[in-house]
Symmetry: C2
Subunit: 444 residues, 2 copies
């Protein structure tokens, strides 16, 4: 190899957007990309344990077919992992539940179908907390330190993208299941506006909360998938100059739960933005927002009563006690509490968006700090629950490495249905906040 | 036969609650009941066309098995029809769509599973408007007059219960698809509080609106199914004396759409209640409620963009243009309109419930009047859309027969999560409002 010529990285290390460009320009085949990902998985996944199911031959065969035909869409030739509580017609879907080990849905979930019909290669199914809710935890380990959780419930999707085993993966968020693992794995994640991506075929936990999201390794990766899902105005908003942006940093009413590493990441993000000329102001949310964490829990538990009734009746003792507890309303959620929670959320949605006249994005913690040790505790969703219940789009952005060598991210948030503008804002802010992801290949 | 001894009616004419009692007491077998329903279907359905799929042998075999074993639950031995946009593992599920004629789900929808595990015999699949949304209409005809619609989208479920082909059936409501057919078919219907029954496995149209409901031939029938679904406090609320009840009759902001038959039914219901000593007061909803019809449409169309994207990509020209129109946002729904609609709904929910300090139920029209002629127009959901978006429980109650010989009902409504109290209120009011259903057997 010539000196001074940077060796081309293994395709598995490319971002999805970079890989898409190379495929489009004929400089990379989908088959080469998929083979590189599979090689990475074979080398790493015996320890990371991100995948519950992988059909290498099928993925390669699909890639070959895609290489022969004109582009199907935004995701042509790109591999994507699917959280295993989302249905796939050609792979098992276990929900990581002992009672669904042999389940094989007849149809793809809507999000899987959209990805597939936009040219994606469904690489396999990633481990998850049982039903993305409670019960059994994923076996997945944090790729940066196997003694730690990758977060959850989107454990395998977060770890697989973080470990460069795949460029893209679907996750879901009901409490903090999507953005928290983004933080813990040093990756990008979009939780789009509630209701803008069909949840059909994803295991249901809470009508009012469940949201499909996706992981990538850059803002462009997130935008690529957003364009496949036709999110409102995606691709139509120009990336602004960072110095023209006004960002409100918001410690949230839950700041007492921040850990030193999370506090540091938040401060680092603010400092970097200020240095780059971004106008920063502090946002202190009005008092009622302090009730949003409890409101999210009330709604999640209250709606969970209905969501697990069929499984409780069908599987009895074979179903984890956590789900029986929900069906039997062990937390004692009352109708009055449910109504109060719904109504508080609605009032806070209006109020949050009214505040937006003065800035372009809210910057907030994405997790209390680094990923906890062990595999049972997937981390606290205290910095995510409010945003889920507000139905607003959130983008997780990597920021720094904590004292334990684990990543810690932040998130930016915007009003409902402004996903496109938030993606453009993220494209301007991410290179400032995230000064490490770009060095990943060199570090690897 | 002895004179003065009333002949026992054919089992198909019993209400679900009556049949359940007889089965429990050993005076009726599930097999006899199912055979009677099948006989009725064979005699009537070639003209009514309520069913898309029926497996008589399987239903009889299931009933025989149930007859041999101890009660599984509230619905033991009772037949139930399932709207064909709700998944069944042992029957096709076509969504009445040309592109899903050979679809066979791997699992029962949650509501089907709960019914089955509570002892119900899944009798078959009933015709529906395509995806319970738009496109192809059901072939079903109004059993009282074949030239008229039975309403929709729960067309087959409404007609089958109305025609005494089955005691119970599942429907769904996104606009007015459940309570309006109840009115048009002279039957009882419960649309429970949004979020209290799992929608998993029912075709998705709108996250914020879709609600599973059920039909029966009495309030007791509705309560029986409600108990199988463990709705909050069902069975714990005593039926009050009618004279102790305070009912607010509400013409709604949409009264200009009422037809003479609907106006008459509403007046008849009020008169009968007043005569029985029920305290009546008029409720005029505050001005913002006038925007709820449009808000419901905005949310339904706006969320429909995501719901039909996968089918639009998969089936292209083979999918009805109605669904492409939604995906491509032909109605031109803006983010601003979506947010305004969500926020109006939330404000009206609070306001509606604040009004409830003064009464026990709201009485409102269930449809503009009798069922329209033809099969394409399934009727106007103008008297249903607001209640769907309010997330409140609604019970359709038959009231009278209109000038065309078709039934017209009314509905009663109560705050979110007060389904149990609404059922108890309905049990007190229904015998007063509905003085015709009781005579059905004699008329038949």
């Amino acid at each position: 190899m010539h000196t001074r010529l940077q060796p081309s990285p293994e395709p598995c290390f490319l971002t999805a957007a970079e890989a898409a460009t190379r495929i489009r320009e004929g400089r990379l085949t989908s088959e080469t990309l998929i083979r590189s990902c599979i090689e990475r998985i074979e080398a790493r996944d015996p320890l990371v344990k991100a995948w519950l199911y992988l059909d290498k031959a099928q993925a390669i065969a699909t890639a070959r077919e895609l290489d022969k035909r004109p582009s199907l869409g935004a995701l042509h030739g790109l591999p994507i992992g699917v959280k295993d509580m989302i249905d796939t017609a050609d792979m098992p879907t276990t929900y990581n539940s002992p009672v669904f080990q042999h389940h094989r849905p007849a149809r793809d979930a809507a999000c899987v179908a959209v990805a597939r019909l936009s040219g994606a290669v469904i690489l396999g199914k990633t481990d998850t907390v049982e039903f993305a809710a409670a019960g059994r935890r994923a076996a997945t380990r944090n790729p940066k330190n196997f003694a730690h959780t990758p977060g959850g419930s989107s454990s395998g999707s977060g770890a697989a993208v973080g470990d460069r085993q795949v460029q893209l993966a679907f996750g879901t968020q009901t409490g903090g299941s999507h953005i928290r693992p983004a933080s813990f794995n040093g990756i990008y994640g979009l939780k789009p506006t509630w209701g803008s991506v069909s949840r059909e075929g994803a295991k249901q936990y809470s009508n009012m909360l469940d949201t499909i999201g996706w992981y990538g390794r850059s803002v462009d990766d997130l935008a690529l998938v957003a364009s496949a899902f036709r999110l409102h105005a995606v691709g139509e908003v120009a990336v602004p100059e960072a110095s023209a942006l006004r960002v409100a940093y918001c410690r949230t009413p839950f700041w007492e739960k921040i850990e030193p590493a999370g506090e540091r990441a938040f401060a680092v993000a603010c400092d970097r933005l200020a240095s780059a000329g971004v106008k920063l102001t502090e946002l202190t949310l009005p008092r009622p927002f302090g009730g949003m964490f409890e409101a999210q829990n009330t709604i999640m538990m209250g709606e969970g009563r209905a969501s697990f009734l069929d499984a409780a009746l069908e599987f009895g003792d074979r179903l984890h006690q956590d789900f029986h507890d929900r069906v039997e309303n062990k937390p004692g959620i009352t109708p009055t509490a449910m109504i109060a929670a719904y109504d508080l959320a609605a009032a806070c949605r209006r109020e949050f968006e009214a505040l937006f006249a003065n800035f372009d994005a809210v910057l907030a913690p994405a997790s209390p700090g680094e990923a906890p040790e062990g595999s049972y505790n997937t981390g606290d969703h205290v910095f995510n629950a409010m945003w889920t219940l507000l139905h607003v789009p959130c983008i997780g952005i990597p920021c720094m490495t904590g004292p334990k060598g684990l990543p810690v991210g932040v998130q930016i948030v915007a009003p409902r249905y402004s996903d496109a503008r938030l993606l453009a804002t993220a494209a301007a802010l991410a290179p400032i906040i995230d000064q490490e992801t770009a060095r990943y290949v060199a570090d690897a």
